[in-house]
């Protein structure tokens, strides 16, 4: 059991931290949030050049054969600068599924350019009525000639507004809510019959509402086995939850560090407010929660590579709960301790606060993960 970073990991962390500090401080995000796309293709290409988009993919797919935890370490550092380039939707969700299920041709055509930062991807799984139930899918794909025609609406598609290709989850058989009969299709962002409505989010990032009206794709655009997509999408969402914990850790740490610095600097009643015990104790509790978040974040990142589904889900759900519970404690108290200026848009803390709240609600919120956890075999087992 070893929690230390390897030499390579330390070098990676240092270089991402340096990138955030020099090239992507929060000011860059402030400019991007006013743009249509919300992120910058030139920066995306640089991330690709650095190799950061490929760390977790096998070498034969154009990646670096690393483990998910390496990607998590990158995400954590990027979180400290609120880097808005779409790593979670493009690399973790869509990229992960392509790498796992894609044919050689699909990988070469769609995954490798993304790893190089030349294109970006998205995964469309959620629908108006589905909340976190992935199999609650009403979008349908019907056979048309040798290929398929897709119809339905998808909501909150992260990076759906900008992606070159979108993996769309659609029902090829069965009724909505059936676990079987779901399939994934690779749809071009500019496909005929696809309307993309850009949706601005609380965190200053963008997602999309997709309307598919008989979007035709060839047989070569089916990803993986027909009708068997559900467990794979759930696998990808688990990894995305682990990724949310990793990015969130960057934001939690940043909020915590900024708060402690502010407690030392801000004076009231003629003394630094950090000398007041009521605030010291709150800061101590924030420290505890930050460290608990870090512990589970590491565990979730390692568990993301577990083959044992039950173990993976158990650890990732624990981490996601801690992100919601402990992370929330840090973010709400950060704003409280900053006082009035904490709720101004001018101050960066609010930006971190909002991004964290979005991450907490993505890929299963706290309640959803608790419900899933209590249903795991290991929870109820008499041992």
């Amino acid at each position: 059991m070893n929690f230390d970073l390897s030499e390579e990991q330390q070098i990676l962390v240092d270089s991402v931290a340096k990138f955030v500090q020099n090239d992507s401080p929060v000011e860059r995000f402030r400019k991007l949030r006013d743009t249509e796309r919300g992120w910058d293709p030139t920066t995306w290409a640089r991330l690709g050049e650095f190799g950061w988009l490929g760390v977790a993919f096998p070498e034969e797919h154009g990646g670096f054969g690393g483990r998910f935890v390496d990607l998590a370490l990158i995400l954590e550092q990027l979180g400290r600068g609120l880097v808005a380039e779409p790593l979670i939707p493009s690399v973790v969700l869509a990229g992960g599924l392509l790498s796992k299920l894609g044919s050689e041709a699909q990988i070469e055509r769609f995954l490798s350019p993304m790893i190089e930062g030349r294109t970006s991807l998205a995964l469309a799984y959620g629908e108006r009525q589905s909340r976190y139930t992935v199999n609650d899918c009403q979008t349908r794909a019907e056979k048309r000639g040798a290929g398929w025609a897709l119809s339905g609406d998808k909501t909150w598609v992260l990076n759906g507004h900008a992606a070159d290709q979108i993996l769309v989850l659609a029902r090829t058989s069965g009724d909505s809510l059936d676990a079987n009969g779901l399939s994934l299709f690779l749809v071009d962002g500019d496909a005929e019959g696809l309307e993309r409505i850009r949706v601005p989010g609380m965190d200053g990032q963008r997602s999309a509402l997709l309307r598919l009206r008989g979007v035709e794709v060839g047989a070569d655009r089916l990803l993986g086995e027909e009708g068997r997509a559900l467990p794979h999408v759930e696998w990808a969402l688990d990894r995305a939850a682990a990724a949310a914990c990793a990015e969130g850790q960057g934001e939690i740490q940043e909020l915590f560090d900024r708060t402690v610095a502010y407690l030392k600097q801000r004076s009231q009643f003629g003394v630094p407010i950090g000398s007041f015990q009521a605030l010291q104790h709150r800061a101590a509790d924030m420290y505890a929660e930050t460290e608990l978040c870090r512990s589970t974040m590491i565990l979730a990142a390692i568990a993301a590579d577990y083959e044992d589904t039950e173990k993976r889900q158990s650890e990732i759900s624990a981490a996601k709960l801690q992100l919601s519970r402990g992370g929330w404690f840090v973010q709400e108290n950060a704003i409280q301790l900053f006082g009035g200026i904490g709720v101004t848009d001018e101050q960066d803390e609010g930006l971190f606060f909002k991004r964290l709240r979005v991450l907490q609600g993505l890929f299963g919120d706290a309640d959803w993960h608790v419900t899933r956890y209590q249903g795991l075999r290991g929870f109820g087992a008499e041992d």
């Binding site: 000398s275 101590a284 509790d285 505890a288 801690q322």
Partner: protein, 395 residues
């Protein structure tokens, strides 16, 4: 970073599990199956069995009787003890004064004391708090005056946990009252059994057991060779020992036992045609606590992995104490909730009225209110974090 489970670890877990099953005496095994509220004698019986196997102090360096296991194996060992619900050993020798002696003791002291801590031939207790020195521990007043080669001790200690079972006490005494209060304290070991002038008087807690004692010293004579660390250097010793104490005081293993018990109670509690364990809202309460405990367990592993064997962990261990004791309390609260109307019962309720596995719950639920108070109250832990880690200014 590597948390993978090796085939060697799988085999090790199997070995430990098998050994525990074979080694647990029948009486203890029966009690463990029934919920497990163990007496001192049973604790020591199990201590000696572990000692004979060489497994009583896995966290000690190998050269003084540790097992040489890495963090991973130690963790597996701990998990298996919890799983079998074995008696928990007295922490004062193994977890507290032992590691301190390993860190600061003279070769003679190590030679004299460590083997008997390991063997269980000598049981220890802690003499820190006094009636007027609780959270403000440094204001303690028990005096140690030099007389020839001895110290003469006069004063009173309180909250000396299980002093009635102990052979030795480690204590903090005032050796200088002239300067800063932290600078006049000395760490001393005293033979409780054979030193005239020491009186131990246990008292009942709200848990209904005599877990704590008051201990009086009246011209009690102790050789100066029983001092650990330099004269007036006791505060440093106290802090180092507290850091050792805090890594265990979080009670992660205990909380796991409580959650295990809570599930058992819920399974055996009928609600209409099903059981309490089939009630999703109750399961989710257990789940939330179990998931939080998992976060803390990982933090503990990170802390242990960062600290070298035998070296005192840093102030980060305050988090373990702070969060761990809160979870410990919550887990007993949850057991009480699981019991429903059975929570009216008490230690001596007849088994027909109160099932055996629930027998000790109310007592521990009450006793463990002390968990957020002892070992440096949780408010003191927050002060430590604020000052020593966050470096926040003092008022």
């Amino acid at each position: 970073m590597d948390l993978s489970v090796s085939p060697e670890q799988v085999a090790f877990r199997q070995e430990v599990r098998q050994w525990i099953q074979n080694a647990l005496p029948a009486g203890i095994k029966a009690k463990a199956a029934g919920g497990g509220h163990f007496e001192h004698e049973e604790q020591m019986e199990w201590h000696k069995i572990l000692y004979a196997k060489g497994w009583v102090a896995p966290h000690w360096p190998e050269e003084v009787g540790g097992t040489g296991w890495d963090i991973g194996k130690r963790h597996i060992f701990g998990e298996e003890l919890v799983r079998a619900n074995t008696p928990q050993l007295s922490p004062f020798g193994l977890m507290m004064v032992g590691p301190l002696l390993i860190q600061f003791g003279t070769p003679e002291q190590k030679q004299r004391f460590l083997p008997k801590i390991l063997s269980g031939d000598e049981v220890w207790c802690q003499g820190y708090s006094e009636p007027n020195a609780g959270s403000d521990l440094a204001s303690l007043q028990l005096r140690a005056e030099k007389d020839g080669d001895d110290y003469i001790l006069n004063g009173q200690k309180t909250w000396t946990t299980y002093a009635q079972h102990a052979d030795w006490i480690f204590l903090l005494a005032r050796t200088d009252a002239s300067g800063k209060k932290q600078d006049g304290i000395t760490f001393i070991l005293a033979d409780l059994e054979n030193t005239p002038g020491i009186t131990v008087k246990p008292f009942l807690t709200t848990g209904g057991t005599d877990a704590f004692s008051e201990t009086w010293f009246q011209n009690a004579r102790v050789p100066q060779s029983n001092r650990v660390g330099p004269e007036h250097g006791g505060w440093t010793m106290a802090k180092a020992l507290l850091a050792h104490e805090r890594t265990g005081i979080g009670g992660i293993a205990e909380s796991k036992r409580w959650l295990q018990l809570c599930k058992r109670i819920a399974r055996e509690t009928p609600v209409g045609k099903s059981t309490l364990f089939d009630d999703r809202s109750f399961r989710e309460r257990i789940a939330r606590l179990e998931m939080r405990l998992r976060s803390l367990e990982l933090l503990q592993l990170r802390t242990l992995a960062a600290a070298q064997v035998g070296r005192a962990p840093g102030p980060e261990s305050s988090i373990l104490k702070l969060v761990g004791t809160e979870i410990q309390q919550e887990s007993t609260e949850l057991c009480m909730d699981a019991m429903g109307h059975d929570a009216l019962g008490w230690l001596d309720s007849p088994p027909d009225a109160l099932p055996a596995i629930e027998q000790g719950v109310a007592s521990s639920f009450n006793y463990l209110r002390a968990a957020t108070i002892y070992g440096g109250s949780n408010e003191i832990q927050r002060n430590i974090i604020a000052k020593q880690i966050l470096r926040l200014p003092t008022a």
